[in-house]
């Protein structure tokens, strides 16, 4: 569904990604993990269009999208739940959700999707008239995810969904991500909380210093000695 072919991305003179290659198949959950500053967010920004690679290709359903404008990619079915949530804090919860359904496709099924989102997160319906900036951290993450769903995406990208959340809330959010996936949405997520990501994802890629250094089945990675030492601490799984 998504094929990343040797993309190179830079911020001015500073190159952040070097020949990054990976793919996400339909209905899969794929995790991209790695330390701070490895290029995880840069990768997601390149897929969503906030950044453009200077070399390499990004193919979505066989179409090259690497140079396409952001809003065109949303129309094609790529949606990003951004780092730090990126809500519209001065607008109400409902307005945030409505904006999620800005595309023609999202708008035509707005009421129906809204019901689904309220089904996933009942608290959002209770808070719908409230300004998004007044929500708690967990509620804000729920709103960001709900907003991402409103465009009816085929591919949903998550940038650190557990960021700033308690372990318990992270678990709740990850369960919902699993549910979203079972409803047919393909998922690519990046995460610093490696364990929770690997427990949900089927496959994972490891990125270090802007290069993909390892890939494989999540379960194998959880048992991998090197990985456990590097990312999971020494405790047993």
């Amino acid at each position: 569904m998504l094929e990343i072919e040797k993309i190179n991305v830079s911020y001015g003179d500073l190159q952040a990604l070097w020949d990054v290659v990976f793919e996400v198949n339909q209905k899969e959950i794929v995790a991209l993990i790695g330390p701070n500053g490895a290029g995880k967010t840069t990768t997601l920004k390149s897929v969503s269009g906030l950044l453009r690679p200077f070399a390499g290709e990004i193919k979505f359903e066989g179409v090259e999208v690497g140079k396409m404008q952001i809003h065109k990619r949303v129309e094609m079915g790529i949606s990003l739940v951004p780092e730090g949530r990126g809500l519209f804090p001065g607008m109400t919860v409902l307005e945030n959700l409505e904006l999620g359904a800005f595309t023609a496709k999202g708008r035509s099924s707005k009421e129906e999707t809204l019901k689904q989102v309220y089904g996933l997160f009942p608290i959002l319906e209770k808070r719908k008239k409230q300004a998004a900036g007044t929500l708690s951290g967990g509620e804000q993450q729920m709103l960001a995810i709900g907003r991402g769903l409103m465009s009816k995406p085929k591919l949903l990208l998550f940038d650190e969904p557990s960021w700033g959340l308690s372990p318990l809330l992270s678990k709740v959010i990850y369960e919902v991500i699993g549910q979203i996936n079972s409803s047919g949405v393909t998922i690519l997520l990046i995460e610093q909380n490696v364990r929770i990501a690997l427990e949900l994802a089927k496959r994972a890629y490891i990125i270090e210093n802007g290069r993909i250094v390892n890939q494989g089945d999540s379960q194998n990675m959880l048992n991998d000695q090197h990985l456990r030492e590097a990312y999971l601490g020494t405790e047993s799984v």
Binding site: L50, V74, E75, L99
Partner: protein
Amino acid sequence: MSWQVFAQSLLFGIFVGGLYGLAAVGLSLVFGVMKMLNVAHGELLMLGGYATFWFFSLYHIDPFLSLLPSAFILFVIGMGLYKGLFSPLSKLHEEVKIKNSLLIGFGLSLIFHNLAIRLWTADERSVSVIYSGWGFSLFGLRFPFIRFSGLVLATIVILALHQFLTKTYFGKAIRATTENWESAALMGINIEKTSMISFGFGAALAAMAGTIVSVGYAIHPAMGLEWTLKALIVVVLAGLGNIGGAFFAGVLLGAVESVSTLFVGPYMEVVGLVIFLLVLELKPQGLFGKSIA
């Protein structure tokens, strides 16, 4: 001084303040969406005033009727200016963007100012309709018909803008872009198109203010800078990008200036600037602004 003199000054101040507000709302809208400061905003107001003046002089169209065609002309001019001059800046970093937008704005204001002198001479002009002298008195206060309807009109325009921004999908897209353009783009909003139309709206709002100025007051080619400054003061008073607050801040500035004339005479402009500096010093997020974390 009798209370009547005071109240009359206050009233006239509120009338002109409504126009400050209208001018400032356009500037604020553009700044909010694009994070660019269009210092040629006053010149757009001047052009709007001239459009109305010529509609009246050449075709005898009532200024309150030519308000919309004048606004439409400036809407188109505004979109053209955005596309040709400001759009290339949109990819730059915020600080560089605002600096470059200032330079372009200053250049534009010089061009429009001189073009207006060249085309229409430096004469002061004003639209004098049959009802120019009409008015009514209430509680011993004089309500000139044109200035009063100017304020009513400005209020209606602001209310309509408010409805548009809060009730329509496109209006919400404008507010979303103002709050966080990256997230707005991720919602599928076309930022380039939204910016272009917002710039057009900003110019159209300036034209409406210019229309009312051409009837209730007077227009001339050099008026632009003065109005840009008023609008800037009002925008800062209200808080950058705060569209609703800009109208109230405009009325406030008009009222304060007018009343202070009674005490300091021709130095009334200084009073406005002193308030401006005090607000910057004490409440930099603006009177109606939320503090920026």
